[in-house]
Structures are given as C-alpha cells and as structure tokens.
C-alpha cells in the first residue's frame, strides 16, 4: 500500500524486505548484552590506575560483557532452586571446585594444628565446611618443592658460598629433576588417587559402623592431603642427611625418620577414618581397627617404602 506521507524516511515501498517486519518485536533484543556500569563512568580520575588505562583501549571495551566469566553468585543463584545451590553445579565447572578452596586463615591454622595433635572433631557438628582441597594441593606442592630445591640449594650454599669453589657444570642436575618428577607423581598420585580406592574399601567393609562415614571422595582427599604435612619436616631432614648418604648410620637414621613419618601420618589417617564418638565410640570400637582402616594403613606403608626407595 503506497503511503501518503511524502517524507523520504517513509520507506514502505510495497516490496518484500526489512520494512515488512517494522511492526514486529526485535528478536535480538533478548540477546543484548547489558552495558556495564563501569563503561559509562568517566575514567578521568582513574587514568593513572592499572585498570583505568586498560579501559582506555577502545577495542576491548565492547567485548567486556562477553568475555567475563559468569559470576560465582550468579551461577550459584541460578541453581539454588534446582538442587540446592552449590551442589547443583556440574563437576566440569571451575566454580564447582571453588567451594573446596574457600577457607580463611584461622580455619586453615586450626586444621593444621589438628593434624599435629591428632584432634578429631569431625563429629562435633557441622561437617559442611570440613572439607577443602586447598590443603591437599598446596601442602603437597610444598613437599614437592622442598624435595626439588633443598638438595640443590644445600650444595649451592656449601660449595659456592661457604667453600668458595665454583661447581660449574659438575652439579648433578639430573638427580634434582628426577626428584622433582618422582615427587610429583608419587605425592599427587597418592593424595588424589588412593582415596578413590580407600573410599571403595571403606564402603564395602562389613564393620563399616566402626568407620567414619565419608560423604564424598574430596573429603577423604582432604584428609590425605593434610596427612602430608608431616612430610614437610621429614623431607627437610632427609635432604640434609642426604648430603652424606654413604654413611651407614645416616641411612639407618633416614629409615628411622621415614618410619616416624609413616607412624605419625597413619595414626592421623586412622584417627580420621575411625569413628570417634567420645566415650561411646571407645566402648563400641573397643580399640579395634576395622579391616578397611588396616588396608588404608598398609597402602600408606607401601607409599612410604616407595618414597624411601624412589626419592632418597
């Protein structure tokens, strides 16, 4: 239908085209990325700041809304109605794992002291915040780093700083990197792999009432991770003793220290895995260990032997 309006902006030309859809709602309206409030603010005052200058790059500004990852609260909020918040996230998402890394310093210190004092307060009340993978990852990383750096560092200090002789190319770097690689696979493999086996054993045990019921594997990984704490001092001492490895007494002392480490960490594992209901628990369990805990301790002994033979 030709229009009576003679304005050149009136473009209804009776032909098929975009103007036919002028009366319909724009389907792309839903997909519009909302403007970020910060983009409309003047950056004049922030010109010297790191972020201010970043914003002055014109090309990156329009992409901001699309490049941002979904906010944690946003993702959590979306799932709240379905499966109860964080539990609703799929395991593939980074935000799913971030709950295992949310802890503050006092909490962390409390857990570290619990390892040393064998305190078992898992049955005290809230188990929700009891599990973190932060300790498992970074305590193990510390152990690996000590194994990697200490022997090289000690020989560097003794030879170059104290004796004043330049080692040059004589440094045994191959053994340092072997230690690094072996420590990585042994410690991370043990901390993150063996709990899957132990979990199955614990669940299938016929005396499972004696054991603490772990809700998930990460909870058990957390226990294994914190049990690695004892290997920090053990590795420091072993590395120092390793400087004079040829002496028999030194080797015997190394064995003794590894055995001590094994005893401490397996006692910790046992105290965490067994049920501890105060007096009631003691009378029920009668000091006996269930088969599953014995299996876990045997696996731990195997790990300690491997540690002794492969790394030192």
């Amino acid at each position: 239908m030709p229009s009576n309006n003679s304005s050149f902006l009136d473009i209804d030309d009776d032909l098929e085209g975009v103007d036919d859809f002028a009366g319909e709602t724009n389907p792309f309206d839903d997909a519009t990325v909302p403007d970020r409030p910060s983009m409309n603010k003047s950056k004049a005052g922030e010109g010297n700041g790191f972020y201010g200058t970043a914003d002055s790059k014109g090309e990156s500004a329009p992409l901001q809304g699309q490049m941002d990852p979904p906010a944690y609260d946003q993702v959590i909020g979306e799932n709240t109605n379905e499966n109860g918040g964080r539990d609703g996230l799929r395991p593939g998402l980074i935000n799913y794992y971030s709950r295992y890394f949310q802890l503050n310093l006092t909490q962390f210190k409390k857990r570290l002291s619990a390892v040393m004092t064998f305190r078992n307060d898992h049955n005290a009340g809230d188990n929700d915040n009891d599990c973190d993978l932060y300790g498992a990852v970074w305590i193990t990383a510390t152990v690996v780093m000590i194994n990697f750096t200490m022997s090289g560092g000690l020989s560097f200090i003794i030879n170059e700083v104290i004796k004043g002789t330049r080692a040059g190319g004589d440094v045994d770097r191959a053994s340092q990197f072997k230690k690094l690689l072996h420590s990585i696979w042994l410690f991370y493999g043990y901390t993150f792999g063996v709990p899957f086996i132990t979990m199955q054993v614990l669940q299938r045990d016929e005396h499972s009432e004696r054991n603490r019921s772990f809700k998930s594997v990460p909870e058990l990984i957390s226990v294994y991770g914190y049990s690695n704490l004892i290997w920090i001092p053990v590795c420091v001492i072993l590395n120092i003793l390793d400087m004079s490895k040829r002496l028999r007494t030194v080797q015997a002392i190394q064995w003794a220290i590894v055995a001590l480490g094994w005893a401490q960490s397996s006692y910790f594992l046992k105290s965490q895995m067994s049920k501890n209901n105060g007096e009631d628990g003691e009378t029920q369990a009668g000091g006996k260990l269930s088969l599953s805990v014995i299996v876990a301790i045997a696996l731990h002994a195997l790990f300690c032997l491997l540690f002794r033979f492969i790394i030192f």
Binding site: S38, A44, G47, G49, G52, T53, S56, K57, Y72, L105
Partner: protein, 259 residues
C-alpha cells in the same frame, strides 16, 4: 540500507537534530544505531599514555614493523609502570599502601580487570626468561612449557580462591605474566651478567663467594618484588591467597638461580 541510514544520520547529527524514523506508522519509532563519537574514550584516556591511546585505532598494515614493535613495547611498559614498577623501592610498604589506596578507591577496578587481557607481554617475558636460563640450548622448550604451566596454576588458584570476582582465567594468566617481569630481570642478572663477572674474577674464592651471595640476594629481592606486585594487583591479602603464588614464583626464581 544500513549505510543509507548512516548517511542520513551523519547529516542530521551534523545539524544537531534528533533523529527518529517512522516506517509508515505513527506508533513505530525506530532510533537508528549510531557509532558514538569517541569522546568518552578520549576522556578516559586523558591522562594515559599516548601510545596506549593510539592502540585503540590499531592498524598494523600501513606502518613499519619497527613502529608496531615500538608501540607494543611502550604499551607493555606503561602497564608495568602501573603494576610492577611501583613495588620495587620499598617493596612491602608500597604494597600495603597500595592496598589501602585501593580499598578507598575504585570499586570499578573489580570489573575492569578482565579488560586487561593480553598475552603478548607474558609471552615476551617467558621467552626471555627461558632464553636466559637455557642459554638457548635444548632446555628452552621445557622451560617455556613449564613457565606457561606455572602461570596456569597461578591463574587457576586465583580463580578458585576468588570466585566472586568476575575475572576470567585468561586475564589472571595475563596479570600473573606481567608480574614475571622481576623474574626476567633476576634471570638476566644471575644468568648473563654475573657469569661475566665470574669470568673476570676467575676462580678466586672470595669472588665466587661474593657473586654467589649476590645471586641469592638478587633472587630474594626479585622474588619479593614480583610477589608484592602480584598480591597487589590481584588484591590478595591473606597468606592463604599469597602463599601459593609465592611458591610458584619461587619455583621459577629458583630455576633461574640454580640452573
């Protein structure tokens, strides 16, 4: 058709009129899209470097390679000025001041952090680092890969411990990459310049002792510098957040000292 509207729009905008088009119906008013003038951007970049402002209209085809490289270097340098350099002279005092100023200052910084996402500087730093440490021998590739891996681990740690910040993994890699700059300096000193001094000093015991101690001091200083920088820029305050970053950077610093 769009270009036609654009033409009309430009004409009208030049006259300062508001533009509304009716498509044959009175109730349908569509405002055409216009590319906003760059006044906002220009205001934002008012105090920033000229080099950075130029990069907004980046076209590398009609300029010399030297010019492009120079602009990139200026770009990296201007960011380093903001992130890394300020923490050198008095390290942790500066870091604390930075945290205080930041708390009172912009909350917009939170959201703008992801805009700063270039991997060019981390790539340059890692190549330099691997080159210095390996002396351009076969070790280069493993150092290159492991450096990227360390950056990834740092970024993952930051992403996991700070899920409430809307910053992507790549941005964290970029930020951590900028903080490798002190490591590159440390590597340059301990792998290139100090060995030259070794040659001059020969095998004199005291020279070896002093130079070895210097190596350790340089490593410690640069490690503190980069840890302070990364802690400030990612707003990591507690030991829980800083320790893993420091451990990763220590690994890199150690490699550069001992190899």
């Amino acid at each position: 058709m769009t270009s036609g509207f654009g033409h009309i729009g430009r004409e009208r905008r030049a006259r300062g009129e508001s533009i509304k088009m009716s498509y044959g119906r009175d109730d349908t008013i569509i405002e055409p899209d216009f590319i906003e003038a760059d006044t906002l951007m220009a205001a934002g970049a008012g105090s920033a470097d000229k080099g950075l402002h130029d990069s907004a209209s980046r076209g590398t085809l009609d300029e010399t390679v030297l010019k492009t490289l120079k602009r990139d270097v200026v770009d990296i340098n201007s960011r380093l000025k903001q992130v890394v350099y300020p923490h050198f002279p008095s390290l942790f005092r500066c870091w604390c001041d930075g945290l205080g100023a930041e708390d009172s200052g912009s909350s917009a910084a939170d959201s703008d952090i992801s805009a700063n996402c270039d991997l060019w500087a981390p790539l340059a730093f890692i190549i330099l680092y691997a080159l210095f440490v390996s002396h351009a021998q076969s070790l280069f590739s493993s150092l290159f890969v492991s450096s990227w891996f360390i950056l990834l681990v740092m970024a993952l740690h930051l992403r996991l411990t700070k899920p409430h910040q809307k910053v992507s993994l790549i941005s964290y890699i970029s930020i951590c990459g900028y903080c490798l700059f002190p490591q590159v300096l440390s590597t340059l000193l301990s792998q290139v310049l100090l060995p030259l001094a070794f040659r001059i000093g020969g095998q004199n015991r005291w020279v070896v002792r002093v130079l070895s101690l210097l190596k350790l001091v340089v490593m410690a200083l640069c490690l503190m510098w980069s840890v302070a920088a990364v802690a400030w820029v990612t707003k990591s305050k507690t030991a829980i957040e800083i320790y893993p970053l420091a451990l990763c950077l220590f690994g890199m610093a150690w490699l550069s000292t001992i190899l």
